[in-house]
Symmetry: C2
Subunit: 217 residues, 2 copies
Amino acid sequence: MGISPPRHRLRIKLLQVGNPNIRFCQACGSPTKQVIPDGEEKVRSVCTGCGRIHYENPKMVVGCLVEHDNKVLLCRRKIEPSYGLWTLPAGYVEVGESAAGGAIRETLEEARAEVEILSPFAQLDIPRIGQSYIIFRARLKTPDFSPGPESLECALFAIDDIPFHSLAFSSVIVTLKMYIEDIKAGKLKFHYCTINKRPGASPSDLRTFDIDYHLHS
Amino acid sequence: MGISPPRHRLRIKLLQVGNPNIRFCQACGSPTKQVIPDGEEKVRSVCTGCGRIHYENPKMVVGCLVEHDNKVLLCRRKIEPSYGLWTLPAGYVEVGESAAGGAIRETLEEARAEVEILSPFAQLDIPRIGQSYIIFRARLKTPDFSPGPESLECALFAIDDIPFHSLAFSSVIVTLKMYIEDIKAGKLKFHYCTINKRPGASPSDLRTFDIDYHLHS
């Protein structure tokens, strides 16, 4: 399914309301105001002292789909949100590292597992919460893993045994479903999709999202 | 080529120096200090008033590789950096939109072209400057385009006529080279790679980067 441009040519569909959480300028400490800067079409947090415009960009969450003996590695969360539910080892990329490097680091931190990245597997955007998940296929360098400080336990699951009713996030459900489909079809692809979370939904509510579109390589 | 984890288990290789540009807290306006917070291993900008930790994440740049009649659409930049050089229509994703939606918007803004996204094509991380490029293949919905306010001109180039000596950015060179290879091989893939820019290099210097690794679907 293709994705189409905004309805009216050169017209931004949605004028966002700015972000009232950006109340002060990071550079000079002056208060910000919510205005549409010259030459732009959206409300931004603009510094009343130095004039700096504070843009807001989505954050990349990176993680690994670790394969071992026809199983995948999941971690049970020891932190909120979704305490006690299963997830892929994943977390925010930091400035100065690559997405693949961040995914390796998060797997080391959450599952104490040393992995090698095999291929890119999926990008899942969640515009409503300003997150973009980048997931890589990876393999264990040795068959060792154990829960890191943010995990209650780590375990390998055959694809038919994945605990779909106790997964932590919509992005994890979607990733694992696409992966199982690919494995059953005998061909791994790269997937891009957008997850449309309904307003007010809890991150652990598995029924409150749709896939807006899904493209693949 | 695979990518391997840091050498020492559970040890972060590089302790970053924090970001002295984050001098004040966005939430309360108090000055920040550069310290290693409890339970962490890296220096962060931490608010001396409310204690908030200011993390820094890479920014996603999204763009389109627009195909039309066996040609691709390029824009000549009317803004710095790389004024006068050719690029793909691309720009930062905003909070509230998807990567694909941002790529469509940027193409509309820079080339006044309405496109439909066909497939994900590449992710190129540039850790040194905190950017991650996400590039999609797209097609023109109508054969119309013209320079937007940030472009001097827009034009379609056959792959043998791409102006490789006047391209604007390393990410654009790498994307177009991978695309031409795929086209000549008769098979389009999804590519993930990391561009290692050498310190102090100008963004328009085409000789100052290496590809650290390159994986594909």
